[in-house]
């Protein structure tokens, strides 16, 4: 079996011998990523309506369903109507702290069978198992959004405490709630935020950042486009005009 030392030594030797093929540079990195991220946010605070329009266009272009409501109080009605249309009752949701609002009572009052994911890691394995099997059973998964990217219609979700990976993955219908503070224009800007998050040792992120660009799809049988092969068959994005995220 190769050891790390000999494996890397062979690479080092090759790199030392190989002439550069042409003068080449890696991508420019933000020198102060947090500050640059902040200045992107500030600029976008001015022109978020255009960014939202572009996001909507791209999101719908990848078969996402876009909704818009005035305030966070109106989200439970929007979720309930999505549930009714597909005869669904069971819903798993990110924890209120992760979502930025506690919608559990309102959703429950509207007849949904709501399972809120815990804010902290379950201590025993069987609880973990139980929660996962709920996520695998119910029809709806409700999450927040860390970034919404206009260039591609992409939702970026960061995993962590109270924000399980499975909520946006196992249920056949994913509903994501966001406001203008999540909007970005371009993938390049996403790069700045990724750099900023990783540069911050205090950030309590989980081990996965997922870019979601529409519902799960495949074209593996005769190139026929089919949705929902493994992940959700539907992705809904509910935009809330009145910012609700802290």
């Amino acid at each position: 079996m190769s050891t790390k030392a000999e494996f890397l030594a062979r690479i080092r030797e090759q790199v030392r011998r190989a002439p550069a093929r042409f003068a080449a540079e890696t991508a420019r990195r933000p020198q102060h990523p947090a500050a640059e991220a902040e200045s992107i946010r500030r600029e976008l605070a001015e022109r978020w309506p255009e960014t939202l329009d572009a996001f909507r266009r791209e999101f719908e272009g990848v078969a996402g369903v876009f909704h818009r409501v005035a305030s966070i109080d109106m989200v439970p009605d929007a979720v309930t109507s999505i549930a009714r249309e597909r005869d669904a009752r069971g819903l798993v949701t990110w924890h209120a702290a992760a979502l930025g609002a506690d919608l559990v009572p309102a959703l429950g009052a509207r007849g949904l069978d709501v399972h809120q994911m815990p804010a902290a890691e379950p201590t025993d394995g069987s609880e973990r198992e139980r929660l996962r099997s709920i996520a695998a059973r119910v029809d709806l998964g409700l999450t927040g959004v860390d970034l919404a990217v206009a260039e591609t219609g992409t939702l970026v979700l960061v995993s962590g405490a109270g924000r399980p990976r499975s909520t946006s993955l196992l249920p056949p219908c994913h509903i994501a709630v966001f406001d203008r503070t999540a909007l970005l224009e371009s993938l390049r800007q996403v790069g700045v935020f990724l750099e900023a998050w990783h540069a911050d040792p205090a950030s309590a992120r989980g081990g996965a950042i997922n870019f979601i660009t529409g519902p799960s799809r495949t074209a593996d049988i005769e190139l026929t486009l089919t949705r929902g092969v493994h992940g959700p068959k539907e992705v809904h994005a509910i935009f809330v005009d009145q910012p609700f995220r802290g």
Partner: protein, 472 residues
């Protein structure tokens, strides 16, 4: 008919593929569709060309300091609680993964689509160790059930009809299946959902690895990559050493062009950035994370003639535009990686002898270079491989004699003129209205389907020498 059998010469394997009427139709439809989607995606993306240049530069810049970037990657993966393994050969990679699986008591492994695990023939090794590997990409799942290999880098089962898939599901899954893609996909969803929840270990490749953060990046459309990295207790990622990129800023450049080149999407549905095992507070994610760094012939090319091929993103764009791939499909190439880039990767992994014939499976039309998101000069490297085949006398001797004679002829104008006259004599019985129909021997390969122009009654230079009016 098995067209992938290496016991048969390449020319016959290619011929076999061209006899397969369904394959022919499927290839034309699929490659034409992919070409159109890619064109449209870049037509609507003014930054595309400069991002391609930038991506190419990032790959080269990374190679110039590959040791340093890998050390950073390794340190970060370990800092996050992952373990890094080093495989010089496919056999070592297989042994490492089997050991990890055994140590965790795994009975079943779910895999998301990965060319690297195809390359190391992992499934056979897992099976031999009593671990059931389950391919979860729908296309890969289909070909695994059929005991075949992928025929396209991003659409592994394009050679199968929905009818064939329905028969396969009915037989292998004991579920009556209609030949309807939607219904077949539903069946696969149910079957595989169960496996995702049961499996002990998830195995993936890596489209990229970000050194600066210790992040493995997986790009999928189906969501199986997310399942495989979220649900099982153990996650093993296998990647060639060349897949490392320095930073998140670099990664975004590649993401902006990868899906456009592969399927014409602006982004694939899921891009998953996974970092080590699950963190405190997380409900899901693996308890163990292993990264297997694979050499498999790559390291020797850092300073080798195939260096540029280390920039390949595995997008499949060069396959779709290649006139040869479009006629023969992926299996006829006979190795894991098909198409023009596949010839280079096969030479890298299996040695030059393996591509003695494949190096010539190109008209050098340059469509691959034009389509490649990182502008890999595939034709130039194919010519390099041909040169190596000749220099090391791997080429068959009659060919070497023919080319040696040709080289002499082209350096001696008197000999050249003599050959033209000889040609006129020899061709005489075969010429009709200035064309040659069917002739035997060497030129027979040409004239079976095409006429050959006759050597002119007077060559241009003969006319120029004697024709006053022409000389003016």
């Amino acid at each position: 008919m098995s067209t992938g059998d290496l016991g048969t010469p390449f020319r016959q394997r290619a011929g076999g593929a061209m006899q397969d009427a369904f394959l022919q139709e499927a290839l034309t439809i699929a490659t034409t569709k992919f070409i159109g989607l890619r064109r449209e995606a870049f037509a609507g993306f003014p930054d595309g060309e400069s991002l391609r240049d930038q991506a190419r530069a990032i790959k080269e810049a990374t190679l110039q300091q590959l040791d340093r970037h890998l050390e950073t990657l390794i340190a970060n993966v370990e800092r996050l609680g992952g373990r890094v393994h080093y495989a010089a050969t496919p056999a070592e990679a297989r042994a490492i993964i089997v050991d990890i699986a055994r140590a965790s008591g795994a009975r079943m492994a779910v895999k998301s689509k990965s060319m690297a695990t195809e390359e190391i023939h992992l499934n056979e090794a897992l099976e031999a160790a009593g671990i059931t590997p389950i391919e979860t990409d729908l296309g890969e799942y289909i070909i695994q059930l059929a005991h075949e290999r992928p025929s396209h880098i991003i659409a592994p089962a394009i050679h199968k009809t929905k009818g064939q898939v329905a028969e396969l599901f009915t037989r292998e899954l004991k579920r009556p299946a209609e030949p309807d893609p939607e219904a077949l996909t539903r069946i696969a969803r149910v079957e595989l959902r169960e496996k995702f929840l049961q499996a002990d270990i998830g195995i993936t490749g890596a489209n990229f690895a970000v050194a600066d953060t210790g992040t493995i990046v997986l790009v999928t459309n189906e969501g199986n990559g997310r399942m495989v990295t979220s649900l099982p207790r153990v996650h093993v990622a296998v990647m060639g050493v060349e897949k490392v990129v320095p930073s998140m800023s670099d990664l975004m450049v590649f993401l902006a062009i990868l899906a456009k080149s592969a399927t014409g999407q602006k982004l694939s549905v899921y891009t998953s950035l996974v970092q080590g095992p699950r963190r405190g507070g997380e409900l899901e994610g693996p308890e163990e994370f292993h990264l297997v760094l694979l050499d498999g012939g790559r390291i020797a090319q850092i300073d080798g003639p195939l260096r540029e091929a280390l920039s390949c993103l595995r997008c499949g764009a060069c396959l779709n535009v290649c006139p040869v791939y479009r006629q023969i499909g992926g299996h006829a190439y006979g190795y894991t990686y098909p198409g023009p880039i596949g010839i280079l990767l096969t030479a890298m992994m299996e040695g030059t002898e393996a591509v003695r014939d494949l190096a010539h499976a190109s008209s050098l039309c340059g469509a691959c270079l034009e389509a490649c998101p990182v502008r890999i000069d595939i034709p130039r490297m194919l010519i390099e491989l041909r040169r190596e085949v000749d220099d090391r006398k791997i080429a068959p001797w009659p060919e070497r004699v023919v080319f040696a004679l040709l080289a002499r002829l082209l350096q001696r104008p008197r000999l050249y003129r003599l050959a033209a006259r000889a040609g006129r004599l020899v061709q005489r019985p075969f010429v009709a209205s200035g064309r040659i129909g069917r002739v035997p021997l060497f030129f027979g390969e040409w004239t079976r389907t095409r006429d050959l122009p006759a050597v002119a009654a007077r060559t241009f230079q003969e006319r120029w020498a004697t024709d006053r009016e022409l000389r003016g």
